[in-house]
């Protein structure tokens, strides 16, 4: 009985560790420079559109800095898609400044 339990336990530990690792690896933070975000009252649309995108966890948009800091699940959404969403709000996503886990 004990011999049967050991591999099962090891298997469970392996599955759990893989699940934990993949869960942590999926969340990324990126800063995207947004051109043309000069009017404070219009920039709310960028945050709104990003927040409505599947896979986006957290968004902070600063019209003063002209950038959007986005926390996202890279298994659900790509950075290219995020830039596309920003562009759809009438602004222009310039380039990715940084991306980290």
């Amino acid at each position: 009985m004990r011999k049967n339990r050991v591999p099962a336990l090891l298997g469970l530990i392996l599955v759990l560790s893989l699940a934990t690792i993949s869960a942590f690896a999926a969340i990324k933070t990126t800063t995207i420079r947004v051109e043309g975000m000069k009017c404070n009252h219009c920039s709310a649309s960028v945050a709104k559109a990003l927040k409505a995108t599947a896979g986006v966890e957290k968004v902070e948009v600063s019209s003063e800095k002209g950038e959007a800091v986005i926390q996202f699940d890279d298994e659900k959404v790509t950075e290219a898609k995020l830039r596309e969403v920003i562009n759809s709000t009438g602004f222009k996503a310039i380039e990715e400044k940084s991306a980290k886990n």
Binding site: C39, H41, C42, A44, S45, A52, G90, F91
Partner: protein
Amino acid sequence: MQIPVIRNTQRLVLRTGINVLLGVKYLFEVKDMLRAIVFSAALIAMQGSSLGQSNKAPALALKDLRGRTVRLSNYKGKVVLLNFWATWCPPCRAEMPDLIKMQREYRSKGLQVIGITYPPEEIEEVRQFIRKLGVNYPVALGTKETKTLFDQTETLPLTMIIDRQGNIIDRIEGILLPVEFEQKIKPLLK
């Protein structure tokens, strides 16, 4: 033999005292409870009256680009999207093709989009912009005060949803997302 009698009397006095105190406490609790009931009833009544208050859209009469008067009251019976926008506002420009499409697709179901410009705005620039885009709904020239009638913020774009009876039923801050159209506007177009 007297001692138990005294003890019993003391116990009786003590018990009576406790009961009196409990009674007073109970009375206070009842009083508090009654007060809470009266307060809640007043609150419910107030909420009821505020719900009963109509959320009628204010009367609006603005000039369009040709100098004709656009009156909100003329659109009673339609689901009106009052869209505040400006040519200098990128998201306002970005959502206009969607508004044009909505107007085209849902006109027969009673949808009426009305654009209201927000200053500072050059009439010629507005004219050129709506011509270029092929805007298929009336566009009136608004002021800051026009927007203040509906909303205290300076957020642009802003879309007010007005039902067929002329009541403001919702507002959409920022660009109108497809999911918002599905959830907030489409159910009214039946």
